[in-house]
């Protein structure tokens, strides 16, 4: 199957210099969000978008394992139903689950390989019009807590440098998730991971309320929430909670 399309010809990708500059900039942006009033879900959405850009992918998602070892989507670069489906299918099988269980990157998987390895997930990749999939483990020392997933429409290959870069981005996601330093304690880790999962659900509920209130699509409601959170310098989760309990005037969050 290989060789039909030549992946990533040089003129398609930015030059190494530009990539490094953009990478540095991205790290600074991300570090900037890691300070006070930090919101982990907002941060992971930024990271997903940054990963798409830097790794020349079309969709990215960050999946976190709960204590039962099941993967849940925490943030994605796209709200498109078919893309969401691809993340959700990986409760049971797929590259993220493999990367999570084995603790190693699963990269450059084409459609045929995907369909052979994961009979339910593979066809969904094809149906989503993607051609290549990667999964990078999110590691904390010797523990794997989840995986970053990348989807490409074209057939593409990550170079060694790209794999290092994507691992660096996955590591940043881990750092962001475990912002408290005391994670050597197992129970603190468990508390934080469960907290992040619940925080994501709160944000989904608020997206729905805002979308229904203004009669707009969910992604537009989410964009308005994030813009408002940025503009007012408040954590996204707080904004979500105030939308839900009615203390925030939703007119202030009118989607553009």
């Amino acid at each position: 199957m290989s060789g039909i399309i030549e992946p990533s010809t040089p003129h398609e990708r930015p030059s190494t210099m530009v990539t490094q500059q953009r990478l540095l900039q991205a790290f600074v942006e991300l570090a900037d969000t890691l300070v006070a009033d930090f919101d982990v879900i907002d941060f992971l959405h930024t990271l997903a978008a940054t990963s798409v850009e830097l790794l020349d992918a079309d969709a990215a998602g960050l999946m976190l394992a709960d204590q039962r070892g099941e993967l849940h989507l925490l943030a994605a670069s796209s709200e498109e139903t078919r893309t969401l489906e691809l993340f959700e299918l990986q409760h049971h099988q797929g590259p993220c689950l493999d990367a999570y269980h084995q603790g190693v990157a699963v990269v450059n998987v084409d459609l045929d390989t995907a369909e052979q390895r994961w009979p339910a997930f593979g066809p969904a990749v094809r149906a989503g019009n993607f051609s290549t999939v990667h999964a990078i483990p999110m590691r904390l020392r010797d523990e794997v807590i989840g995986a970053m997933n990348l989807f490409l429409v074209r057939l593409g290959k990550l170079s060694e440098g790209d794999i290092e870069l994507s691992q660096g981005l996955a590591d940043i996601a881990t750092i962001g998730l475990l912002q408290e330093r005391a994670v050597q304690q197992q129970q603190v880790l468990a508390e934080q991971l469960q907290g992040a999962l619940n925080s994501r659900v709160v944000i989904e509920q608020a997206k729905g309320m805002l979308a229904a209130h203004h009669d707009v699509a969910v992604p537009d409601a989410f964009a308005a929430m994030r813009t408002y959170a940025r503009r007012t310098g408040r954590p996204l989760s707080n904004v979500a909670i105030e939308i839900i309990d009615g203390t925030l005037d939703q007119e202030q969050l009118r989607p553009s």
């Binding site: 039962r68 969401l84 619940n198 509920q205 979308a211 229904a212 309990d245």
Partner: protein, 237 residues
């Protein structure tokens, strides 16, 4: 069938005698896990709202203390939306809960593990596990405790609706759970469309899926895409 469904099914088939569903759940949790006792408290934004069930006297004491003092692991678990685990209450409890910790230790509680019962912003209660000796929960026990909390969350959600406490299980309690973005987004949309709280919106969504014989995710997608709308207080058509 997942672990949560199995717990609920066991509760349904067990002879509960005169005990309520939450009482049976606490007893089953205390029996299945290496803990001394289990308590289940209702929580709201204001704090503890009262005891629902306790597996033994000390578990009841633990819940009463938190209710009376307005502080403790269940209060923090509910407000923080994450488990609060204190395997060595004697070492770590004092600074955090100056009133609760000494009283709990005095009563014989050496370790506390509080699990919030929530679906996003829907705060229902807390499942409190305690031990009379210090020590952490193994990862396996922690997973089991989370499964019991999920089961308790579902039971409380239905108790908020009109399900009688000692009646049979609502049939869709036993459907697999779905933690998917569309379900939570649809819950938020229904809350606005039908002018109800999030908990009731989630029940409306599940009830609709159940009555239509469709999966909750499929119905949720219809809501998110605008193909299905709910309305205030009228027949949903």
């Amino acid at each position: 069938m997942d672990r949560v469904q199995r717990i609920l099914r066991d509760l349904e088939s067990a002879d509960r005698g005169s005990s309520t569903l939450p009482e049976a759940l606490c007893a089953a949790c205390a029996a299945a896990l290496p803990v001394t006792g289990v308590g289940l408290a209702l929580m709201s934004k204001r704090g503890p709202e009262g005891l629902v069930a306790a597996s033994d006297g000390l578990a009841k004491t633990m819940e009463d203390l938190q209710f009376d003092l307005g502080e403790g692991p269940c209060v923090d678990a509910s407000s923080g939306g994450r488990p609060v685990l204190h395997p060595e209450l004697r070492e770590t409890g004092g600074p955090r809960w100056p009133a609760f910790a000494p009283a709990a230790l005095q009563a014989g509680i050496e370790a506390v593990f509080a699990f919030p019962l929530q679906v996003g912003a829907i705060r229902l209660g807390v499942l409190d596990l305690y031990r009379d000796v210090p020590g952490t929960l193994s990862p396996q026990v922690f997973r089991d405790a989370l499964a019991f909390s999920d089961a308790a969350t579902r039971v409380l959600l239905y108790l908020q609706g009109q399900m009688p406490v000692d009646g049979a299980l609502h049939p869709d309690l036993l459907l697999p759970q779905h933690d998917r973005p569309e379900v939570h987004q649809a819950t938020g949309m229904i809350a606005v469309q039908a002018a109800v709280g999030l908990a009731e919106a989630l029940l409306l969504l599940r009830a609709r899926a159940f009555s239509d014989g469709r999966g909750i995710v499929a119905v949720a997608r219809d809501v998110v895409s605008g193909n299905l709308r709910f309305h205030p207080d009228s027949e949903q058509k």
